[in-house]
């Protein structure tokens, strides 16, 4: 069933692309700086964290703001993607009721927008790496692979949540708190070396930990990601994707009546 759905989505790739574009373009429409905000946002975030952690809190970890920024960008992709897609079918109810298209397009376009936003933020991250004294290494080539892993996981979860939210609107509100908890269970602001080894092992069951740790390996520690961790994350992500898509296929039949 899932493969049939993928074929259908492929037929509507033009629409997917157009939805992603309008999503990106509407986000900052009407503001004076417009599209520049896509870059200003991560830049300001970076400046705030650098200021707090190296001037006020004096964290001993070298290049701590860089460490945190790498994890934060990866986390933001995931969190904004999941949060925005949870409500996307209800928000786009007028389309769902009036026009046929594979409904997967809606959560996919939201996640697609998040991925593209991540790519734009690399425009800030890469110069910052260079300024901090990092040289481009072969390990940077892992970044697209890790990004793919994260996208698969995010899409899977988004498909699941977006279809469930149509029937159970609470999810949208619970999700904010749930994501905050998840954020602190993911080694974004701290390193797993600060945890006791047992707990660190436990934390690695969380696929988002695998994603963030892999990004940190490739960009911060200049090493190849731990392949066991990566493969584990990939397997979990694919399982989540297939289950999410299956659930979506099941629930999507009554969307037009329920939104």
């Amino acid at each position: 069933m899932v493969f049939g759905r993928i074929g259908e989505v492929w037929k509507y790739r033009e629409m997917l692309w157009s939805m992603i574009l309008s999503e990106l373009r509407t986000r900052y429409r009407g503001s004076v700086l417009g599209f520049l905000w896509t870059f200003i946002n991560p830049l300001l975030t970076l400046l705030v964290y650098t200021f707090i952690f190296s001037k006020i809190m004096k964290v001993t970890m070298p290049h701590y703001s860089l460490f945190m920024f790498i994890g934060l960008l990866a986390w933001n992709l995931f969190a904004t993607g999941v949060q925005a897609s949870a409500s996307v079918i209800v928000r786009q109810g007028s389309l769902v009721k009036k026009i046929y298209f594979p409904r997967e397009i809606l959560p996919l376009s939201v996640v697609g927008g998040s991925v593209i936003n991540y790519l734009f933020s690399l425009v800030i991250l890469v110069p910052f790496l260079l300024i901090s004294g990092y040289q481009p290494t072969i390990y940077w080539l892992f970044v697209p692979l890790i990004l793919l892993l994260e996208t698969i996981f995010t899409v899977g979860l988004s498909l699941m949540l977006s279809s469930l939210t149509v029937y159970l609107r609470d999810i949208e509100h619970m999700l904010g708190i749930f994501l905050m908890l998840w954020f602190y269970l993911t080694p974004v602001v701290y390193s797993t070396t600060m945890l006791s080894p047992n707990i660190a092992q436990l934390f690695k069951l969380n696929p988002m930990s695998d994603v963030v740790l892999s990004f940190q390996s490739a960009l911060y520690y200049n090493e190849s990601p731990h392949w066991k961790l990566f493969v584990y994350g990939l397997v979990i992500s694919i399982v989540v994707l297939i289950f999410g898509w299956w659930l979506f296929g099941l629930l999507n039949r009554r969307f037009a009546e329920e939104v």
Binding site: Y12, S22, G30, S94, L95, K98, I99, Y100, D170
Partner: protein
């Protein structure tokens, strides 16, 4: 124009909607009322089967809530059937609502691309058609303005222009023929005719029976979630209008969750034929600004009689308008008149006994009847209002009744205009006569 290749096949389809009495959307309610969901089923379609062949133009008619739009949404895969199957072969463009998916902040041009993508067009295809679309919409300089600054008419123009630019194999249309001004409407109909000539299968849901009659090869009449009748437009529309107007006069058109048990087609259709084919509309007690006069003569009742049914007249058939009136005070040299108006208040015909040189009418108190009789009622299909009046010689009205009765005219021919001029065609046979 049609061949036998089936493109849409609907097999024993049923569809129920849950009508939530109290929506249990939140977790609390779901937990508290688990298993006691407060909804009842509304039957939108029950065991409907039909097939549509390639190149056919089919009109779906029926009263509100009869299941037409549900059927169309099932064909366009927006809804899924609860039972049965719907198979559709070919590229479908469904115009269920014009401008769904327009983004108000973007310009008309940008929206063409976005809307085109929604209808399944690639960027390349839209690029090749862009000039044609903009041209068709006649929006001119406005095309680069944000859509939110458009008037609703302009909005419709843009939406329809994109929608018809898609070259679909099957086009599903729901109540959108009334777009823009008259000129633009004509343009839209022409575009649909072009599509039809290209073997496009067209399915229209509409209440505009005149348009259906002119445009469609076949009509499917939906009633109480079932196909009540299908076949030639003229037959279906006549039966449909007769039923609807009869029900309306009986006041039994109220919508209900429950479907009437006795919806077997034959019963009602027979009933219509057995009834006296007459309408009695409005009591005398209903005074309004549509009525004025001295009251010396009071029109009590108006009956429209024809061969077709209540309030229905076939173009070219006989029609009689019988006025029952009561004379309160003896009157001398009065006249009776009628006027026939289109729904948009254009007078098609008006006359009275004086103009027709019927002779002087002088009446004593009492009740009497006068009948306007036409052996060939020649107005073309549409809805018409009839005014009746009784006036004195000095044109002072005794009783003037605006919009006293409404009639529906239908026809089995597709001639155009306001009325059918009595005529025949003669081809001189040159072989013999020269």
């Amino acid at each position: 124009m049609t061949n036998n290749e089936t493109v849409i096949s609907v097999q024993n389809v049923s569809k129920n909607f849950r009508v939530h009495l109290e929506r249990n959307h939140t977790l609390k309610e779901r937990v508290l009322y688990a298993g006691r969901a407060k909804y009842r089923d509304f039957v939108a379609l029950s065991d409907v089967s039909l097939t549509i062949s390639k190149g056919e133009s089919v009109g779906l008619i029926g009263v509100n809530g009869s299941g037409k739009s549900t059927l169309l949404k099932l064909m366009s895969k927006i809804l899924y059937p609860d039972a049965g199957s719907v198979t559709v072969q070919g590229r479908v463009s469904s115009l269920l609502e014009l401008g769904a998916g327009f983004h108000p902040d973007f310009s008309g041009r940008e929206n063409i691309f976005m809307n085109g993508a929604l209808l399944g067009l690639s960027r390349k295809e839209i690029n090749t058609k862009l000039a044609e679309i903009i041209d068709f919409s006649e929006l001119g300089d406005f095309i680069d303005e944000p859509v939110r600054s458009y008037s609703s008419g302009m909005y419709m123009r843009l939406a329809f222009s994109v929608a018809v630019a898609v070259d679909p194999e099957i086009i599903l249309i729901d109540e959108i023929l009334a777009v823009g001004d008259a000129a633009f409407q004509a343009k839209c109909m022409n575009r649909l005719r072009e599509l039809r000539a290209r073997e496009t299968t067209i399915i229209i849901v509409t209440h505009d029976t005149a348009a259906v009659e002119r445009f469609c090869d076949r009509v499917i009449w939906m009633h109480d979630s079932q196909v009540k009748m299908e076949g030639k437009p003229i037959n279906c529309i006549q039966a449909y209008l007769a039923t609807v107007f009869k029900a309306s006069n009986d006041g039994s058109n109220k919508m209900s969750f429950e479907r009437s048990e006795i919806s077997a087609p034959s019963i009602e259709t027979k009933l219509i034929q057995e009834t006296t084919n007459q309408v009695h509309i409005k009591d005398f007690s209903e005074e309004s600004e549509l009525r004025w006069g001295t009251g010396d003569v009071v029109i009590e009742d108006i009956k429209v009689s024809s061969g077709s049914g209540s309030g229905l007249v076939q173009c070219g058939e006989p029609l009689a308008i019988t006025i029952r009136f009561c004379v309160k005070k003896a009157v001398k040299d009065i006249d009776f008149g009628i006027g026939i108006f289109t729904v948009d208040d254009m007078q098609c015909y008006g006359t009275n006994t004086r103009l027709d040189r019927f002779g002087e009418i002088t009446l004593n108190p009492g009740t009497d009847l006068i009948t306007f009789q036409s052996s060939n009622f020649c107005l073309l299909p549409g809805s018409y209002w009839i005014d009746v009046a009784c006036s004195a010689a000095d044109t002072q009205a005794h009783d003037y009744w605006r919009k006293a009765v409404q009639i529906q005219v239908y026809s089995d021919k597709n001639d155009v205009g306001i009325c059918r001029v009595p005529h025949e065609w003669i081809l001189r046979d040159s072989q013999h006569d020269l």
